[in-house]
Amino acid sequence: MNTDIDSYQYVRNLLVDQFDVPADAIRPEALLADDLGIDSIDAVDMIVHMREVTGERITPERFRQVRTVQDVVDIVDRVLA
């Protein structure tokens, strides 16, 4: 689906541009914390960025369930749906 590709691109660009993640490390199943070095401050900054794009507040409780890149993409999709 088209929106899915866009969401994935968005999350990928966000990780590379804002969180110093090497582009070739990003796969849908990559673990944010263990594989990509995303820490709790990054998680807050990601929520803020995503809110700017989607216009909706993603609650910390919801974001706490997130483990992989695909989980973030799913949240973006659900918010935009």
Binding site: F19, D20, D39, S40, I41, A43, V44, I47, P60
Partner: protein, 278 residues
Amino acid sequence: MTAAEQNSSEPARRTGRPGPAPLDSTAGRWLRKAWAVMSFTGFAVGALLSAVFVFPVLALLVRDPVRRREVTRATIGKLFGAFLRFMGLAGLSWDLKGLPVEGGAAGSASGCVIVANHPTLIDAVYLLWLFPGADCVVKAAHWRNPITAVAVRAAGYLPNDDDERLLEAAVERLQAGGTLVLFPQGTRTRPGEEPQFRRGAAVIAARAGADLLPVRITCEPPVLRKGDPWFLAPPRRPHFTLEALPRLSPERWTAEGERAGTVRLTERLSELLLEAVH
């Protein structure tokens, strides 16, 4: 380097009782057990009495929230100081190096983030005694605990339940000239484990344009560690050393990007605060 960064030759200020003396007789063992029991009952009784008679009365008398916050924090500082002196009578001793900073070599702490390692249960007691006006992050559960709720609410401390709000509030308080006490390792050191410093303190300081003032805490022999049973009597009288280290300005670290800079700054803080554990 500013003048404040060159303060390491400041002579140690000795407070409390003189240094540790070995107590290995039978009487000594009983005294140490009494110390453990006394410290806990002393703290519990003090907390209970203040929860009933001090903080609710203050909250009733001082209606203005800003003033109430100041008075409550000053009172917490005094009560913690009294508790430490009470423990001093039982043999707890400490050295303060470059502390308190007001009027000391490190200059005023206003607008600074005070970062410390966290070896024992009473580190925050020392820091809130030494920096009585400071903000600190308190476990959100204390907002609902009947013993602590009135005091933490009136003092306007920062609850740790929402990282985003915490980050925002901490930056705002610093920019308004406040002082913030943080333990970058989040929780006490577990014996035998290397504590992991988190980036939050460096990020908060960077975003607020505030300096970091590291305070290194050591306790010999170690007491009141994470996982220690509270009735574990120390082998000797415990002696604390609290040392203010030269300040760090985050802007020197974040010129090439906040994220990479605060990662390196956090590593530096970890080196400074965890080295020389003797």
